[in-house]
């Protein structure tokens, strides 16, 4: 609430997001409470809709604003105020991949990821790098962490005495420093060694498996033979499949996909069908 009352224009863009986010995901929490007990899926569609609203559509809107402001080179004033320049950089995002499960909440599933290893063998053969042990690091880590954690009581005492004093502004080591500007983005952002290139989503279509199992039993197979014949995982889809083909799996590809999913309902329908592992689930 302090942030709201202060004039911190840079915060304004996102200020309401968390409040809205909380409301929209309320149904997801309820669903999650039920799910803890392993019950039937509930409100998962509402949860996915909230992901679309709060992540994908926000990104789409930000990207649209960026492209518009790029066309109008001058930062136009609106209602007397200077319109804030939107940040369209991809680097601000990190991708959280949440997987389908083996438990048949929907159809059982897992994923195989493919990643770039080209050039690695020649690098190994040339002996151009050394493999370093970790013993020293872990010994030092223990000492460092003990030192970092030692002063809790002292810290609290001092921070109570020196409220708002600069002693309160000491470094919180659970917060990182900014990434140094001279470092390049990693394999999640630009194509290089270890960049993810593609994934294959496997699933077990339980309805078909049950049909085939029963049929094999009817045809005279033993239970074990019938199970071996009937049970299989198959490819549900690959990341480069239509209708929203991803050329690679860099952060920019996910952001592009998020924008498409925000815009096009037919793509969204396909995406949620896949999210629910082709079970046809709706709330």
């Amino acid at each position: 609430s302090n942030a709201k009352t202060q004039e911190i224009p840079d915060y304004a863009e996102d200020e309401d997001d968390f409040v809205e986010f909380d409301k929209l995901l309320e149904s997801a929490v309820e669903a999650s409470d039920v799910r803890i007990m392993g019950a039937k899926p509930v409100n998962k569609g509402a949860y996915m809709d909230s992901v679309r609203e709060m992540y994908y559509k926000k990104i789409a809107s930000r990207m649209a604003d960026v492209s518009t402001s790029g066309k109008n080179k001058k930062n136009k004033k609106k209602n007397g105020k200077k319109k804030k320049k939107k940040d369209g950089s991809i680097d601000r995002y990190s991708i959280v991949n949440i997987a389908g499960s083996v438990i048949p909440t929907f159809n059982p599933a897992f994923r195989v990821w493919e990643y770039n290893i080209s050039g690695l063998d020649s690098e190994f053969q040339s002996g151009s790098f050394q493999i370093k042990g970790w013993d020293d690091f872990f010994q030092k880590l223990e000492v460092n962490m003990e030192r970092d954690l030692r002063d809790e009581e002292k810290d609290q005492k001092w921070s109570n005495i020196f409220q708002n004093n600069r002693i309160n502004n000491k470094v919180d080591k659970s917060i990182p420093t900014r990434m140094p500007a001279d470092l390049n983005s990693g394999p999640g952002y630009t194509p290089q060694l270890f960049s993810p290139t593609r994934f294959i989503q496997y699933y077990a279509d339980l309805e078909t498996i049950e049909k085939n199992y029963k049929k094999a039993l009817k045809d005279g197979s033993t239970e074990d033979d019938a199970a071996t014949t009937a049970f299989e995982y198959q490819v549900e889809y690959s990341s480069d499949d239509e209708p929203y083909r991803m050329k690679s799996l860099l952060t920019k590809d996910y952001i592009k996909l998020a924008v498409k999913l925000a815009k096009y309902d037919e793509l969204w329908d396909k995406y949620t069908e896949r999210a629910f592992l082709s079970t046809g689930y709706t709330d």
């Binding site: 999650s32 392993g38 996915m48 770039n116 962490m145 810290d155 339980l206 995982y233």
Partner: protein
């Protein structure tokens, strides 16, 4: 060729598997209304079939678990470089007649660990840590007792977990693991690591998690560990996948933990390739925003 005369063939592929939830009490032919443990089904959709029915609310039958692992062994084992296995290897506590016990949770987790070891270890090696395909497990909220509640170690639970996973956790990380149950594996030595994060220390539903702002909080200590590890990986020019059970979205993580974790993932984007999580049983992705998290942290 690796040190010690070992060698490893890389395929440029790895497996992510999660939330297996095998249930030893699953009974084929029982009623889904009775969580597939007992009862007579009143209609076809209510019947617990051998491999299960999607969306009927039951855990995995033991057959579903066994045949799934067998399928992986037959079809993927020789084509992948490592396995990311993000936990929840135990049935849900959803049957009042058969409440879960701590020992059952340990036993089934141990059994699952043995299965993965057997499948991916080099069969003829005397070294129990010699894996043809490295396996990097992480702990789910159902793998701990009481449900969701998990404290910093060393405790009985962290010791038991280390015993179960002793062949997965590198030896030099034993002490750090006993405290924070997070660790990493160099799946391509000197080049690529997979970090197993103890996400329960950031998880809102863990009653021991208040925030990530006090040094006594498990989440604070986890983030401290994460920072040192990421910095070392950066200095070694290694790359890393972050993995864990509960995904870092605002509704799962305590707010300060969420923002701080997001900042680490974003400010080490030169090192981190991405994040792989389970828990929600739905296939989707969420782009988290480092800039927003800086603003939230600055504002508080």
């Amino acid at each position: 060729q690796l040190p010690g005369g070992k060698s490893k063939t890389l395929h440029g592929r790895f497996l992510h598997i999660t939330d297996i939830h095998p249930d030893p009490h699953y009974k084929t032919g029982s009623s889904a209304a009775d969580v597939c443990h007992s009862g007579k089904p009143d209609k076809k959709k209510d019947t617990a079939t051998r491999f299960g029915v999607a969306m009927n609310g039951c855990d995995s039958s033991m057959d579903l678990m066994e045949y799934t692992l067998k399928w992986v062994e037959d079809n993927l084992k020789d084509k992948i470089d490592f396995v990311v296995w993000t936990g929840d290897n135990i049935r849900h506590d959803n049957d009042r007649k058969i409440p879960r016990t701590e020992s059952q949770i340990f036993e089934l987790n141990e059994e699952m660990a043995h299965k993965f070891e057997k499948m991916f270890r080099r069969p003829n090696s005397a070294d129990p840590r010699d894996f043809a395909v490295d396996v990097v497990p992480s702990l789910g909220n159902n793998d701990v007792f009481p449900h969701n509640l998990f404290s910093l170690g060393p405790t009985l639970q962290t010791r038991e977990i280390y015993n179960m996973w002793s062949n997965f956790v590198p030896q030099e990380q034993q002490r750090a693991f006993a405290r924070g149950t997070s660790f990493f594996v160099e799946v391509i030595p000197g080049k690529l690591a997979v970090l197993s994060i103890q996400t329960l220390y950031l998880y809102k539903a863990n009653p021991l998690v208040d925030s990530c702002n006090s040094k006594k909080q498990p989440g604070y200590q986890l983030l401290l560990w994460l920072g040192y590890v990421l910095e070392e990986l950066r200095s070694r020019n290694m790359k890393v996948w972050l993995t864990g059970h509960v995904p870092p979205i605002l509704k799962n993580y305590e707010e300060s933990c969420y923002h701080k974790y997001t900042l680490w993932t974003n400010e080490y984007r030169d090192v981190i390739i991405g994040g792989l999580y389970g828990h929600m049983n739905m296939d989707h992705f969420v782009p988290v925003d480092g800039k927003k998290s800086w603003k939230a942290i600055d504002a508080t």
